[in-house]
Structure formats: C-alpha cells, structure tokens
C-alpha cells in the first residue's frame, strides 16, 4: 500500500498548498480592495474606535464624539439638523458626507499633518484622537436661517464679501444626523430607508448640491454683461413696452400685468433693474447674445465646482444663437440653472467691487491637543467685473430696495442693496422665490441669498416680483439684521 499512500500524501500536500494560496490571495493580495468595499463594516467599525475630533461653529462643537459603554468605544453626536448639510454625517453603514467626509483624515487623526501627534498617542497609549475643524459659519444666524425656512423647501447662503467666508449655509428640509451616526444598526437602517423614501428629499443640500432656475435675480448678471460690454451705462435708455416681440420669431415676452415698465415706454438700465422690467431685459438679451452673458457668468464662477466640502454643483448658462432663447436667458429663464451658493457669490462680488472671493467653509484646523494647525487664508477666485460696473450695480440694487420691488428688505438706518426673483419652472408648477441682497450697501459686510423652491404662489405669472419680495426678502432682512448686529 505504500506507493498509494505516498501518492495520497503528495496529493494532500498539494491541496493544502492550494488552500494556503487561496488564503494568501485573500489576506495579502486582495486584502486592500476587500477592506475598502463599501459594504465592509469592519473598516467602518474602526472609525468607532477613534476619539474623532469635533467640528466647531462659533466656538461651540456642532459634531463631536462621546465615549460609550457599548461594544464601540465612541459615538458621534450632532447638535442640530440646522447644521446637517454643511457638516454632514458619519455613518458606519452609509458612509460620510459634508465636512465629515471632506476632512475625514484630519478628524480621524490619520492626516499627514498629525504624524507627531500620532507618535505621542502611541507613547501614552489610549484611543487614537483626531484633530478638530472650525467652520466659518455663524452659529446663531445659521440656526435662525433654518428656523425661518421652517417646513418650506429652500436654502439660505450668506457670505462675507471681502473674505469669501460662508456665514450661513442652510438647507430645508433637513434631518437629524444622529439617526445615521448611531451605533444602533437597526435605528440607522430604518432611518436611512425612511430618508431615501422621503419625497421631500431631506438628504439633498439645497444650498449647493442642486441648481434651480434663477428668474429675475439673474438680471444682475445680464446687467453686468451689458455694462461690461461698454455699449450700455446705467443711464442708457432701453425701450420697455408692455410686450416685447422677439425679432425674427412670433414669440413675445410680457411684463407683469402686461403693463409697460414706465409711462414713457422707455427705462434706464437702473430703472429696469429696480422694477425688474422683463421686456427691457429681453431686448438686452437679444442685443447682447448669450455668449456675452455666459462669459460674464463664467467670470462669476458659473461652471466651477469650487473647492468646498461636499462639492458644489456647477451653475450653468446655455449658449445659443436663437433670439427667443437669448431673450429668455437674459431674464433667467430657459435652461439657466444656478445654485444658491453661486448667486451668493455673484451678490458678494458686486458688494466686493467686482472681486469674487474663493468661498470657504473651513476657517481653521486644530491638532488633537487643540493647537492651531492651519488658519485658512482668503483667496481671490476671480476679478469678475470692473469696479465701476460693480458700483453701478450696487446703485441699481439699492434702488430695488428703496424704490423698486424689494421693499421688504429695508432696514432702518442701513442701506440695503437687493434684487428679487420669481422663477417659473414649468407652467402650473409653483415658481421659485428668490431674494439676493447685501448690506450695508456703502460698506458691505454680508451678502445673502434666500431661495424658496416652489415657494412662490402659483396664481402669479412669471416675472411677478411679489413672491421674491413677499416670501424671500423678509427672511433675508431678518438675517441681515442678525448678522450686522454683531459685525
């Protein structure tokens, strides 16, 4: 029997080698890709072993880790749904979002900048600690903005024009991030299913992860393009009849209530902005062409993702040679789509003598021992328009609030510059109500955008500025008061 037994022993040995080869494949060669699979809980569980750093707003943590007695060492806590969209969440099953995702390495303590701290922690033993991140947000203004949005769908973005600091980035509806960060897997899974099934889509950050039709607030960009072209000044007279027939087509564009914008049938560019005159702007659009308009829009940052945690969706101006489309583009209709953040950047640039600052959400980062790692500089994104153009637009926007459609944004003793917008989406559907503003107009400290999606009343025709002024402007006014009161 010996020859058979020898063969058997060799066969057994060969099979064991194959088993070993398979283990080597799993544990060495494939280990990395298996560890990084999205459905692999083990890698995510490791995050629970880390004393993850806090995310700080106005000196107070809005996201932080607490020690638990359960099988996981730490659990993540979030103070308010008002901060959920910019701050994001960290879930063991559904991944991370917002600042939690963008600054994960620093918060988890694995960033290269923390190598010294990691070595020190190795010596003291204990759990690994992460660094902290301070945001540019203004805590009470952010909470107020979220409260003012209430149960309406919309967003508020406020920016400090000189620095590009984002003071408010609110989105509604929001959700409680604790539901996704809990160490109770069942609660987490149920919450997630509920969130993704929710028709109001609370997971969407409406401040910069979605674009909307801008309507009349886009007229600021059309006006900027007109001024930059050198062919118009703020006093140039433009015909403003009740209806404007687009040349070469049968289409017409009409004003609200089908009235001319001015008794004389002609308006200056400044008046056209102040009363948000559709026929005058439609004519401007045809004369300028969408190429010129989209060039100026691009200078303001349209088409850019910027570099913000959570990534900004690109705003868009289509280029076309069709006259009817050019007319619609000039009044912010047709396929023009903007994020609330992009409109805030345009407004801030007008306030900042035409300079768009790189928007920033993170102001400082700290090591685990709370020593300052890095203070983030303010950087110029682009000099979008000439200072004279900006100054002219500033004057026009002041007229909007003082004399025109933006009366609800007035603040006693402070000059406010603003622009209303009511964007028609599709016939029958409720329009979006917009209001953009900055104040004080003579020395701007805050630029703000309020957007209520489908927030306008359906019984008003597009171009009516009532929604923007009635619904969005009061919110902007309250927040400007809040922000200026302490600036």
């Amino acid at each position: 029997m010996k020859p058979q037994l020898n063969k058997l022993a060799i066969g057994f040995g060969a099979v064991f080698l194959l088993l070993f080869a398979n283990l080597t494949y799993l544990q060495v060669f494939e280990a990395n890709s298996l560890n990084n699979r999205a459905d692999n809980k083990r890698s995510l569980f490791k995050q629970y072993d880390i004393d993850r750093g806090a995310i700080i707003v106005s000196g107070q943590p809005v996201a932080y880790s607490v020690e638990t007695d359960g099988r996981f060492k730490f659990e993540r806590r979030y103070v308010s749904p008002a901060f959920t969209h910019p701050v994001g969440y960290l879930s063991s099953i559904y991944g991370a979002a917002g600042v939690e995702q963008a600054e994960n390495l620093l918060l988890a303590g694995t960033a290269d900048s923390l190598v010294v701290d990691r070595f020190r922690q190795l010596l003291d033993g204990g759990a690994r600690r992460g660094g902290s991140v301070a945001l540019t947000l203004d805590s009470s203004a952010q909470l107020l903005a979220y409260q003012l949005l209430g149960n309406r769908e919309g967003a508020v973005v406020a920016i400090e024009p000189r620095s590009g600091k984002i003071l408010i980035s609110a989105s509604s509806p929001s959700f409680d991030a604790n539901l996704l960060a809990t160490t109770n897997a069942q609660t987490m899974q149920q919450s997630w299913s509920r969130l993704i099934a929710d028709k109001t889509n609370p997971l969407l950050n409406r401040a910069y992860r979605e674009t909307w039709a801008p309507g009349s607030v886009f007229k600021l960009i059309t006006a900027a393009a007109a001024l930059e072209s050198g062919r118009y000044t703020e006093t140039t007279k433009i015909p403003a009849p009740a209806t404007y027939k687009i040349p070469g087509t049968k289409n017409t564009i009409s004003n609200w209530q089908n009235a001319p914008c001015n008794a004389s049938g002609e308006v200056t560019l400044q008046e056209a902005i102040a009363v948000s005159c559709n026929t005058a702007f439609a004519r401007l659009g045809v004369e300028l062409g969408s190429k010129q308009i989209s060039k100026v829009a691009a200078a303001f940052g349209f088409g850019s993702n910027f570099d913000l945690p959570g990534s900004v969706v690109k705003s868009l101006v289509p280029e076309t040679t069709d006259a009817a489309q050019n007319a619609l583009i000039a009044i912010g209709q047709f396929d023009v789509r903007v994020t609330a953040l992009q409109m805030a950047l345009v407004t801030a640039a007008i306030a900042n003598e035409g300079v768009v600052m790189q928007p920033k959400l993170i102001s400082e980062t700290f090591a685990p021992d709370l020593t300052l790692l890095k203070s983030l500089d303010s950087n110029v994104y682009n000099r979008a328009i000439k200072p004279t153009t900006a100054a002219a637009l500033n004057q026009m926007m002041q007229a909007v609030v003082e004399l025109g459609t933006g009366s609800n944004a007035r603040i006693a003793g402070v000059k406010v510059a603003g622009k209303t917008g009511t964007a028609e989406t599709q016939s029958g559907a409720a329009p979006h109500a917009w209001f953009v503003a900055f104040a004080p107009a003579d020395a701007p400290k805050v630029a703000i955008v309020v957007m209520l999606a489908g927030g306008g009343a359906t019984d008003q025709p597009a171009g009516s500025q009532i929604s923007g002024n009635q619904l969005a402007a009061p919110i902007a006014q309250r927040l400007l008061v809040e922000l200026l009161g302490r600036k």
Binding site: M1, K2, P3, Q4, L5, L8, A9, F12, G13, V15, F16, L18, L19, F20, N22, L23, T24, L26, Q27, V28, E30, A31, N32, L34, N35, R37, D39, N40, K41, R42, S43, F45
Partner: protein
C-alpha cells in the same frame, strides 16, 4: 519516558495560558479567574492523557498529542474570545469528556483485531447512527438539518460517531475483500475497470451519501463519506480506475442534487458569487472573507478583530475568526498542525502490520484531510459552504469526542505495530520520537 511530548505539552500549555491572558486584556480590559482556570484545567487534562500514554502506549508517536492538543486548546481560547466564559467552560468540559473517551480506548482496547473482525456489524451500526436523528422523541432538527439527538441537556450529533464506526467498518470490509476488488475484468479507454458486482459496495455508499444529502440536508457529511470511500478503495487496490468511477459518480450525484434540490443549488450559487447577495444569502461567507482581509498577514491580534460579525463564528466559521485575529501566519500554522496530524496518520498506515491496520489509519488520515479541506476551503470561499465542523477547533462536543477517539485509535495502532517489531527491548526516546516510513 516520552520527554519530547512532555516538553511540547509544557510549551502548548504556556502558549494557551498566554492566549487567554491576551484575550482577557484586549477584549475585557482585566484578568479574570476563568482566564486562568481554563488553561490550567486544559493543561491538567493533556498531562493526564500524557501519563496514560506513558503507562499504556509507551511506543506511540510523541508529536501527535501536542499537535492535537494545540489545536484543541486554540479552539477553546477562540470560543472564549467569541462567546465568553460560559461557552469556553462548556467546551473545556467537552475536552475532558473527549480525552476520557480516548483514554478508555488506550486502556481498554487491546489491539485493533477486534475492530476488523466484524466489518458488516460496524457498517450497520454506522448507518443506524446516521438514521438516529429521525427517531421520535430523541431526534431533533436544528437549523433545518436533522442531525441531532437530544439526551437530557445534551445535544449530540450521531453522524460524528458514525464517521468513526464507518471508517472502521469500511477498513475491515476492504481488508477482507482486497484481492477481489483488485481483480480487473476489462479495459476501456485505458482505464482498468473492476467487475460489475465489485462496484456494488461503492454504489451502496454512493446511495447512502445521497440519502444523507437529501434526507438530512448535510452536504458536508455526504461528500465526506463518498470521497473517503473512493480514496480508501484506491489505497486498497492501487487501481486509479476507482478514482475515475468515484469522480464520475460524484459529478452525476452532485449535478442531480444541484438540479433538483434548492438548498444544494443555493449553496452552489453562493460559492460561485458570494458578493451577488451580500446582505442576504452570501452574508456569512462575505463576512468571513472580509474577516480574512481584515486579518492580513499578522492578524488584528487576539480579541481585537470583529469576528463576531460572522454568524456561527465559534463553530462552523472558527477558522475565519482565527485567520482574522492571528492573520495568515496563524492560519498557516493551523493548516500545518493539521498537516502534521494527517502526516502522522499516513505514516501509521505505511508501517501498519496488516492491511486492516493500514486501512484504518488511512481512513483516519483521509477523514481528517477531507474535513479540513471542506471546512477551511468553505469558509475562505474556495469551496461551497457545508455544515461540517472544523475538527478539534469548533465549539461542540460530538465532533471533538469523535476526533479524539480517532487520535486514540492511531495511538493504539502505532503502539501495537511498534510493539510487534520490538517485543523484548524497551524503547528509548530517540526511537519513539517519530515513526519512520
């Protein structure tokens, strides 16, 4: 005086104590009484067995006990880590029962001749044990498999004992009919075929295997019996035609079972692509595979992995837990230890004084090899998942008792075959350190 065995057992006991202390420290944060008591109890049990070997089977191999003891002790340590003190204590009691059973064989079984005399009785007993779970009152179905006998607080898997009895019965049968099974009637395509009537016993085993597969939904045991029978036939006759016939029958049976029975088909589909349904049917295998990946080369460290994510980590999937926490290095060590035990069994077969003795030892080697292959291959995704337990390591009593009975039979074979060749001269340590081929 079996010094090598003694020294290796001291080492085994120290390593085992260390593993319990590490688990206490890393998973609990403090030392517990039970973390000392269990390793000491295990050391006592293994040394007790060592002294019985010294007294009753002095000529038996000296590496076999330490190898099986390390695996058994590692199993208890992992069960301690995965389920806590109560589970580990239960397993320790099973270790005690296993080694008592093995010791009874060492002391009471004079030689293997009694085992080989009545093969048909053993085979019948084996079949009865297999059928026992279908008995009223004491039979029980757990997790969809009718494999259990409930006696008071104990759940026993008679199939584990059936394995022992059937190996012996089959070895006896083959030893008696060796010459006629070797007889060749004709050659087809260069394959030497046995006589049709001689194939009958194999067909019976095949049928029984299929009945196990279908009736008890136990893919592993079914495969184990059939493959063992084929390999033993090959060893008995040296005719590779038996391997060919066996392979053909395996494919036919497997294909038919896959086509007809959902549970076989499902196992097969999971094996083909475990990631197809990560949250559902593939969950267990995928979690185990993630465990292997998390372990890497050196492992997460005892008590520091997430092996609990794998359902049945302490029983069917214990090898995955070991690979996660001790890494590729630990997994390779376990495979090498199995290799050592199996090699010892093959060597025992090679020096067997009678065909019957050789066939019993071969059967033990084949049984252990196939169980390791099916379980290790299964949890690491190389083979379909079966319900087989990982011998020596898995939580549960029946398999452990059966495995140690097989080890005891190997000791009896080694000692008796050696004794026959050295009737008068006492043995020195050097002679008993390892049995040469």
């Amino acid at each position: 005086m079996r010094r090598t065995e003694q020294r290796l057992l001291i080492l085994t006991s120290l390593v085992n104590l260390a593993s319990f202390l590490i688990i206490d420290l890393s998973a609990r944060g403090y030392f517990s009484v039970i973390g000392f008591v269990i390793p000491l109890a295990l050391a006592g049990i293994f040394f007790g067995f060592h002294f019985i070997l010294v007294k009753y089977r002095p000529a038996a191999d000296q590496l076999l006990l330490p190898a099986a003891a390390i695996l058994t002790a590692l199993g208890v340590a992992m069960i301690y880590r995965l389920t806590g003190g109560t589970g580990a204590l239960q397993q320790t009691i099973w270790v005690f029962i296993s080694l008592i059973a093995a010791a009874v064989i060492l002391i009471k079984l004079p030689n293997t001749r009694v085992l080989l005399r009545t093969p048909l009785v053993f085979m019948l007993a084996g079949l009865l044990l297999l059928a026992a779970p279908f008995l009223p009152v004491i039979g029980a179905t757990i997790n969809g498999a009718t494999l259990w006998l409930r006696v008071g607080p104990l759940s026993l898997q008679p199939a584990e004992f059936a394995k022992v009895v059937l190996i012996i019965g089959f070895a006896g049968y083959l030893a008696k009919h060796q010459s006629q099974l070797t007889f060749i009637q004709r050659k087809i395509l260069g394959i030497e075929l046995p006589r049709a009537k001689d194939i009958l016993p194999l067909l019976i085993v095949w049928a029984v295997s299929l009945i196990i597969l279908v009736g008890q939904r136990d893919l592993g045991t079914s495969l184990l019996f059939f493959a063992s029978a084929v390999l033993l036939l090959y060893i008995t006759t040296a005719r590779s035609s038996w391997l060919v016939i066996g392979f053909v029958l395996l494919i036919l049976g497997g294909a038919a079972a896959t086509a007809i029975f959902d549970h076989v088909q499902q196992r097969f589909n999971i094996w083909l692509d475990p990631f197809a349904d990560v949250a559902g049917s593939g969950f267990q295998v995928v979690q185990a595979i993630y465990g292997f990946a998390a372990g890497g080369i050196f492992g997460t460290g005892l008590g520091k992995g997430n092996s609990n994510l794998v359902p049945y980590a302490e029983s069917d999937f214990i090898f995955a837990a070991i690979a996660e926490e001790l890494g590729l290095v630990g997994a390779a060590a376990v495979i090498l230890l199995y290799g050592l035990v199996i090699t010892k069994a093959i060597k025992t077969a090679a020096v067997g004084r009678s065909p019957g003795n050789s066939l019993i030892a071969s059967g033990i080697a084949i049984f252990m090899f196939l169980q390791v292959l099916i379980t290790v291959g299964g949890v690491s995704g190389a083979l379909p998942i079966t319900g087989l337990t990982t011998i020596f390591l898995s939580a549960g009593g029946s398999s452990l008792v059966a495995s140690w009975i097989l080890i005891a039979i190997l000791f009896v074979l080694q000692d008796q075959d050696h004794a026959l060749s050295n009737i008068t001269t006492p043995l020195s340590d050097d002679q008993t350190r390892a049995i040469k081929l």
